[in-house]
């Protein structure tokens, strides 16, 4: 389903020291440093899998998600998702996937959520009856039928995140990318969002790739984890395997910390 081969991506970042003099100097000559966001990243994901993509801040998680969803173009490497290269066939590719960025919103701020859903229906050309079925199914799953009549700006973060995920599922995507879907949520909302993601994966057989810093998410949702640090894939395996490897770790937090130490990230 998803195949990445030797993906590389570097970013140019402007840098200068603090102070007025430095700022004035930067007007004439800007200094850039190259940051290697992704180095030789390769992995395969099968249809129907749920994969946790973890790593510290700045490890390259979001960059990978953006490459897989056709937003970023890598410097080199191959990526074939369901037969298409995301950045070359962007429009066809994105019609088949759903993306949720936990730190951004895709809902129109001032109008009821249902209006945003209808715009999405038109954008993805979802046939009326399929749209209605999906909407009924998804809203009853999460008990959203009242919430979607409210303008997005008046929703709590937890309610909004459920709506964001629903919005990305209306067009029956084969793959769902979740970039930190539980960020900023309280425990109750986190549990609800996890339950939702799990149901989607089990009932609709949607392939799910999620990035998170919350290890509980990983423990409850995924069989397989990909650990990335400083732009390289460090580990690819099941949670059980990893636990066996570092048997002295009793919980997953210790496990990840020890892996970070082992790989020096």
């Amino acid at each position: 389903m998803i195949e990445l081969r030797n993906i590389n991506k570097t970013f140019k970042v402007a840098k200068r020291n603090a102070g007025f003099g430095e700022a004035a100097k930067a007007l004439f000559k800007k200094e850039y440093t190259k940051i290697e966001a992704l180095k030789d990243v390769s992995f395969n994901i099968n249809a129907g899998e749920m994969v946790g993509y973890i790593g510290p801040n700045g490890a390259g998680k979001s960059s990978t998600i953006k490459i897989m969803s056709g937003i970023l173009t890598p410097d080199s490497g191959q990526c074939i998702i369901d037969g298409l290269t995301p950045w070359k066939n962007r429009k066809e590719h994105v019609a088949k996937i759903g993306v949720v960025f936990g730190q951004r919103s895709q809902l129109w701020w001032d109008v009821p959520v249902i209006d945003s859903f209808e715009l999405i229906r038109d954008i993805y050309k979802i046939p009326k009856n399929i749209y209605k079925n999906n909407l009924d199914e998804l809203t009853s799953m999460m008990d959203l039928s009242e919430i979607i009549k409210t303008p997005a700006r008046q929703l709590s973060l937890g309610q909004r995140m459920k709506c964001e995920i629903t919005a990305s599922l209306l067009h029956d995507p084969k793959i769902l990318f979740l970039d930190e879907p539980t960020i900023g949520l309280d425990t109750v909302s986190k549990i609800a969002v996890r339950k939702y993601i799990k149901q989607i994966n089990e009932q609709k057989h949607t392939t799910v790739i999620l990035t998170t810093h919350d290890l509980q998410d990983i423990e409850e949702l995924t069989q397989r984890i990909l650990l990335i640090g400083k732009g390289r894939i460090l580990l690819d395996g099941s949670l059980e395997e990893l636990k066996k490897r570092n048997s002295e770790c009793t919980n997953i937090t210790d496990l990840v910390v020890s892996l970070y130490e082992e790989f020096n990230v």
Binding site: K91, I97, V99, F101, I123, K125
Partner: protein, 267 residues
């Protein structure tokens, strides 16, 4: 096509909501137009023959300008598009199966049209009722009225196409301030919104009339008022069509290049 229409619709409805803003806009534009006319009136009194447009032509020009302000003001740019580029919400826009250029084009058109719709009719009606020569007069004949409508629509699309280039520049500058400032001062002047282009010195005017800026508000308003007529109308229309295609063509190329190296800001 339906998807761009629905995007257009939601934007358009959204724009119609702001009635208080529209009311304030109508008053501002009415007062502004009146002040401009009084100022020009003072000049015309000293020597009416020294000016390239008759005073009644000028009145029509100014009232049309005030009525269709939202369609032709270059500095009237979409804040949402700028913040999408600089803030990173572009990520969501790129994850839609839509062409980004067309998407933003439809959006800009809808915002401008919804504003213009609310404002234009009241201003036009008042301007028709004003005493001569301060009123808006009827177009010279049916042909020039037809040409007015055609060039008005094409001129409006040219403005939107040009503003697309300003948005694309923001991909590189990362701050909309400079773009806005230039649009506000230089381009506004070149399009004839500060003073109509016929008032410029001949050499400057000759040069300006060949630029895309003369194809925006200058052309339809001068056709309506009868300042451009006959074969000159056709010549100007051809120039307008040429620029429109060229600007859209360039905008699409620049957009493609910008998207190749796009960086989503803010992680």
């Amino acid at each position: 096509m339906t998807k761009y229409l629905s995007l257009f619709r939601i934007r358009f409805i959204n724009g119609l909501q702001y009635r208080a803003a529209a009311f304030a806009g109508i008053i501002t534009q009415f007062v502004w137009g009146m002040m401009e006319l009084l100022m020009f009136n003072a000049f015309y009194r000293s020597n009416p023959s020294a000016f390239p447009m008759s005073f009644s032509q000028l009145s029509s020009y100014i009232w049309l300008q005030q009525a269709f302000l939202a369609m032709f003001m270059m500095w009237f740019l979409e804040q949402d598009i700028f913040s999408s580029i600089t803030g990173g919400n572009l990520a969501y826009e790129l994850s839609r199966p839509m062409d980004l250029y067309n998407m933003w084009f439809a959006r800009s058109m809808a915002t401008r049209l919804s504003k213009a719709l609310l404002r234009s009719f009241p201003i036009l009606i008042i301007a028709v009722l004003l005493p001569k020569p301060y009123n808006i007069s009827l177009p010279a004949d049916l042909v020039s009225f037809g040409m007015f409508i055609v060039t008005l629509i094409l001129g409006f699309v040219t403005v939107v196409a040009f503003s697309m280039i300003l948005y694309i520049i923001t991909f590189y500058t990362m701050s909309p301030t400079g773009v806005r400032l230039v649009a506000f001062s230089i381009i506004e002047f070149l399009t004839g919104s500060v003073i109509p282009l016929p008032f410029m010195p001949d050499k400057v005017r000759f040069f300006l009339e060949l630029t895309p800026f003369a194809s925006m508000q200058n052309l339809p308003f001068r056709i309506y008022s009868g300042n451009i007529s006959g074969s000159q109308m056709v010549k100007c229309l051809l120039i307008q069509i040429f620029w429109l295609f060229l600007i859209i063509f360039l905008g699409r190329i620049y957009m493609k290049q910008a998207l190749k190296k796009v960086v989503i800001q803010g992680g």
